[in-house]
Symmetry: C2
Subunit: 268 residues, 2 copies
């Protein structure tokens, strides 16, 4: 007979606590889908920006004040809208809203727009997940490779639920946040999930220069994505081939392989 330990029983019997954040703001369709799925699994607390915070990277608010307001947008589900960035939302959730309650999982998104490859660095969605990982919490960011806020989301739901359940059941790697991206809806169903590395791709910007009504110039940033990394183990390959991509992300930026070179070649 298998020995059942008491803390396993407790773990199985209590509803998991899931913290939900995002960067598109508390009213976006992506977060609604995530809240719906998470609340079918456990107790949900939402702390999300009160306005869109896309491309905020890992910004935090230290030179300004922060507002936090309770919201009834999700009915009975505890929800708060925050004036700050996605990373602020996680910090406020952990240290203020949840007090000493530790979430079993933090989920962020679902973002309207891809956060694959280099976009993970600019992503507010992933900054919330990575902030949670820094705080020692299991965390997953979800994004859909379709910028339209009217796009189909339903093809992601079953995959999101399964990934959340796995995240709650399995040993979650420490100091890691999962970056999950979904291909836009196509005629054929999603083929499956690939655990990937971040493709070595980048954005090439263009600046559209215009004149305002007073004759002063201003710019819109736009750009196109350049991927010369054809590796079949990359997130870009998985998404282009109609797979869900999962990149485990960590927050040690050290280029460990370069330390020896600098010590040997550079004179300080």
């Amino acid at each position: 007979m298998a020995v059942i330990r008491q803390h396993d029983l407790i773990k199985m019997s209590k509803k998991p606590l899931i913290l939900v954040a995002n960067d598109d703001g508390i009213t976006s369709r992506g977060i609604r889908l995530l809240v719906e799925i998470a609340s079918s699994i456990g107790e949900v607390v939402v702390v999300a920006p009160d306005s869109p915070q896309s491309a905020m990277g890992h910004a935090i608010t230290i030179a300004n004040t922060l507002r936090l307001r309770k919201s009834d947008i999700f009915g009975d589900i505890a929800a708060y809208e925050c004036s700050g960035t996605p990373a602020d939302c996680i910090k406020l959730a952990k240290h203020h809203v949840l007090n000493d309650r530790k979430p079993d999982l933090v989920v962020s998104g679902m973002n309207h727009g891809s956060n694959s490859s280099i976009s993970v660095l600019y992503s507010g969605t992933m900054s919330a997940a990575i902030e949670a990982a820094i705080e020692g919490l299991p965390a997953i960011g979800f994004s859909l490779c379709d910028y339209s806020h009217e796009t189909e989301l339903d093809h992601c739901a079953v995959w999101i639920k399964n990934i959340i359940l796995e995240g709650l059941k399995k040993n979650f790697p420490k100091g890691v946040a999962l970056n999950v991206n979904f291909p836009a809806k196509k005629e054929e169903p999603i083929k499956g999930v690939k655990v990937c590395r971040q493709a070595a791709a980048r954005w090439e910007e263009k600046f559209d220069e215009r004149r305002d009504p007073l004759g002063r110039n201003y710019f819109w940033m736009s750009g196109f994505f350049i991927n010369e990394d054809k590796g079949e183990d990359t997130d870009e390959w998985a998404l282009a081939n109609n797979y869900v991509s999962i990149v485990p992300c960590q927050f040690d930026l050290t280029a460990h392989h370069v330390i020896a070179q600098l010590n040997k070649e550079w004179e300080f």
Copy 2:
């Protein structure tokens, strides 16, 4: 007789082009020091925020317009102030200000405040340097472990100049930005330079809740730094022992060591 190749001669004879950015804004003392040192070495172009952008992480401006104005703050040195983030400054510099001219080096800072350890993720100073590295440019971010804008900077000058010269002379590792932090000025001089890894430390936040004149609550984020990583190969150790710390930083966030675990243990 050593063979002197023509492109070596050209390289040695022309003044290097150094792009200077920061996150404290174009009027800060830290950037003035960097411009002074860089202009003693090469031709300098400055593109820096028109207002403080601390803790902006890798934010970029895609949902708003950007302004760029020429500034005479540095006399004859070409300088532009930008309404955007530090990463915006690099993108605008590369794709608009410099047109097809490729800087030999990008320097960012010197930041008033430490960007060691986990702070590299929140740092606007380092986001400018990392953005440059993404764009394929050699880049160095400089920060001083002293938040006061009135603090002494002069003890850093000789080290900054030497690190810039080494950056221009030596093979700069590809896809890497150097995160250079200086200890605050002490009675004894700086002991030297250590090439380090990012310490596994983090910030523990506190939220100071207050009431505005209308009786509504708001928060100030503050916190304290927790470092349980006692490794003598870390930036925190170097700085605590009065050394300059240099961490080579890269932008592939993939936790490569976790891919096999997820493939083996998780069911998707």
